[in-house]
Symmetry: C2
Subunit: 155 residues, 2 copies
């Protein structure tokens, strides 16, 4: 693992909140010239510490009003079946996140759709036909009260 120094950490904390900040503005914020910031950013990208830059959209303004957490238990847990399940989930754009979890269920999915009808159609067309799924439990989101993608790092 790359060792991160205090300046790296400051850069990462800023970029996690302002992903399109200019090198110049970031440099001024940290009291350095553009060169070291530029080189550090490139290094952090190259080393994979920064995985990617993205725009986060307001889901309400693009007609994606429903989020559901779906817990799933599988019948067959052999490796190839797990891999097959994951591969399948990766193809569905409605499934934004997939976690293998310890406990009663095997997987937890985060599914986002336009509304409840679209959600039901999606489940019927894509999960209900999967013969390896034993159990499905849907937890509907009433409101999202906190959301951040940032890991606040301290030096």
């Amino acid at each position: 693992m790359t060792q991160l120094d205090a300046t790296d950490i400051k850069i990462l904390n800023v970029l996690q909140e302002e992903g399109r900040i200019t090198n110049k503005a970031l440099s001024e914020k940290l009291g350095l010239s553009t060169t070291p910031i530029f080189e550090r950013m490139k290094r952090l990208e190259k080393d994979g510490v920064i995985a990617k830059y993205v725009a986060l959209l307001n889901h309400k303004k693009i007609d994606r009003k429903l989020t559901v957490f779906v817990s799933i238990s599988l019948k067959n847990h052999t490796r190839s079946y797990l891999e097959k399940f994951i591969e399948e989930m990766n193809q569905f754009k409605e499934v934004q996140e997939v976690y293998h979890i310890a406990g009663d269920f095997d997987y937890m999915l985060k599914i986002v759709t336009r509304d409840i009808e679209t959600y039901q159609k999606f489940i019927l067309a894509n999960l209900s036909v999967n013969s390896n799924i034993a159990h499905v439990k849907s937890q509907f989101v009433l409101s999202r009260d906190k959301y951040t993608t940032a890991y606040k790092l301290d030096s």
Copy 2:
């Protein structure tokens, strides 16, 4: 709600995957000149369709190896108690997401920490002392098999 046309949707789909793409590169990708792309991006930002731009980090490279989904039920559900709970959760940097959910539990939290010891300390210091929490159920993440922040939009 702002009405989005096919070009807006293409712009949003690209920016959700390449948040730092230059206006010029984006314009070339969509076969338009920089001016209309520039104006549309500014409009989408101003209207709040684009909420923000962020850098996503590789959690394994910054020593955040444990993710836990925590389901919580509260004792008192009056509005002011719910608001107090949310306000409290918003102060914890380890709590990245908070969802009010329908069903057995009231809230689901996504908590990210360095490791299991740090997690336990966090729970003991911050949740166990909350006298309004009735029940806590932790679901530990073994692996994250899909993760995207993008809503793939179709025209």
